[in-house]
Symmetry: C2
Subunit: 341 residues, 2 copies
DNA sequence: TTGTACGCGTTATCAT
DNA sequence: ATGATAACGCGTACAA
């Protein structure tokens, strides 16, 4: 515990009568094996460092070393539990690799994203993780020019290296399940139109039904934000059609919760009148009053493996596009077979 | 858009034939009014800076300026939507004040907290925001020795400066509401025992009932984590008592959702058999199949005002303890009056 | 208006 | 085993 004015290597050097470079060596454990500082000296330095409450200045070290050991992370919004979970995986894994992380919300807004990325570049991040990629890839094309390595998580884009849930497989799992229950008139809450995860989940889902002779009408695929409000808005549109769909697939659990709310307002019961399947399997899905069927997305692992991949790339290993397997979790919101019109 | 190797002031200086200090002045807009660089020079510098894709090195600037313009933020877990919302307020407001933020999850674990705080100190944060304070204040007492200004949000502790929801008022709002409905046999899901927000909400709630001659028995106040799993666990305990409570107050909405789940498993209906009131009023509370009554916590504002306070303190203004008013939102989970044992 | 010189805290290299 | 020196990129007092 020290007080007041920052203690630096210089401070310690003066107090011990040694020279700054020597102090630095001791504190960094530099000089391997035989050529270490004398045990006595080392001990003295460490002692003084503790007394004066020395805290190394990573920034200054980074300036000299030309490497910040800092990873920049862009997320659309941390209030989205899915993105927050991915970030947890990122933070923990980065720490294991000796990196710190700095995260920002882009709100899926180009200007905000640009501003925050400039900020991170100014802080000399060694690499970037993007969890908010837009499928058009315009921003990333420009960013690549900076020469800063990066990996996408959550949403793929173009052929940039990425770690995502296998969203195509996930969309198909949901489709297979509802189709097997006998549903043929289905609707989709499709997520934001520029997010590849929603796009892929929706594409695989609608393709499955189309291939079996039951194409999903265009007006039964509604784009919306991934939260409950978005899901509610989309559900209003889907249920305005007569006859209403017998099953709804929402590409996010929170959107699905919005759907459940609207169903109830209209006197329909989820799981009996309309089957509902969500995506991600966030913790509350299983705790809802009508437990929600969902496609499990290994969110934490997406973040963790994203950092692993990035670290490998920084070592010169080749970029990859990794997808992690989803799993269907059937619960009451889609447990009973479809019984007629 | 530039390529490859980092461009610095030096790069620009060489390209323009000017000297580094001149370039620096232009790019910083230094030299007020009359003594500005000649318009022609300034324009040329800016032009070249753009061409080579110059990105200023904030770290180096901070080293020189002895101020990082960086705020450190500690949260228990960003997957808690409440904390993520508070962080949004922090991030946005900090940006407005010209600060960047660096956030870490402490998991409410002392060792992890210590490690991350050391990291932030190493990065020379100008100040700190703690959203994960423990009521004992042991950690903060030690931290204060560093001389780095800080403000607490979400959870108060001791007489440290803080911005929180008025949790006492909030707990009382919940109590008044349930008491007025006729409930006398009530239970509380009280949150983590070291978190002041849960403590205050619980204290005000139980005091209200005690003062009216209906003290809440000790075994009807159950501590649990703030998430759905914690709420479920606590609900099991509360409902094992016979007769079971006619109303349950959970100090967090997600815990309340866990309660709703358990009620249903036991064949009890929330709002009819057992009234439930949550806290925070997160967006999904209103969207649930049985909409959840909740005490609204101005989460975003808590974060925003926390930064405002911190900035004022850094300017030398006195520390404060600020509380923001909660509001009761009555919904179906506690809408009907109590009708007998 | 522009140039010179130095220091911020650290690490790498060379000399002792 | 330790000391001396330079350099990372930037900002600022002072001189021209």
């Amino acid at each position: 515990m020290a007080s007041g004015g920052r203690a630096t290597l210089k401070t310690i050097a003066e107090l011990t009568g040694l020279h700054v470079s020597t102090v630095s060596r001791v504190l960094n454990g530099t000089t391997s094996g035989a050529r270490a500082a004398s045990a006595a000296t080392a001990e003295r330095v460490r002692q003084v460092a503790l007394e004066v409450g020395y805290v190394p200045d990573i920034q200054a070290a980074g300036l000299r070393r030309q490497s910040s050991r800092l990873l920049g992370v862009m997320m659309a919004r941390l209030t989205d539990q899915v993105l927050a979970s991915i970030y947890e995986g990122v933070e923990r894994t980065a720490t294991q690799h000796g990196f710190h992380t700095m995260v920002s919300n882009s709100w899926d807004d180009p200007a905000t994203r640009q501003a925050h990325v400039s900020m991170l570049l100014s802080r000399r991040v060694d690499a970037m993780i993007f969890g908010d990629a837009h499928v058009d890839g315009a921003f990333l094309a420009g960013f690549a020019a900076h020469g800063v390595p990066f990996v996408l998580v959550n949403r793929r884009a173009g052929d940039h290296p990425s770690v995502t849930c296998d969203d195509l497989a996930g969309g198909q799992l949901a489709a297979e399940h509802l189709y097997a229950l006998g549903h043929r008139r289905v609707g989709v809450v499709a997520g934001l139109p520029y997010a590849a995860n929603g796009i892929d989940r929706t594409a695989a889902f609608t393709r499955y039904f189309a291939e079996r002779g039951h194409p999903v009408p265009g007006d039964q695929v509604v784009h919306a934000s991934f939260d409950a409000a978005g899901g509610a808005l989309a559900a209003e549109k889907l249920l305005d059609r007569a006859p209403h769909p017998s099953a709804i697939f929402a590409v996010s659990d929170f959107a699905a919760i919005g759907v459940l709310g609207v169903l109830r307002e209209r006197g329909l019961r989820a799981g009996r009148d309309v089957a509902v399947v969500g995506f991600n399997d966030v913790p509350i899905a299983a705790q809802l009053t009508i437990p929600l069927s969902s496609v499990r997305n290994p969110m934490y692992e997406v973040g963790a493996r994203g950092v692993d991949l990035l670290v490998r790339m920084m070592r010169g290993e080749p970029p990859e596009r990794i997808t992690l397997a989803p799993e269907l979790r059937i619960r009451e919101s889609s447990a009973s077979p479809y019984t007629g019109a």
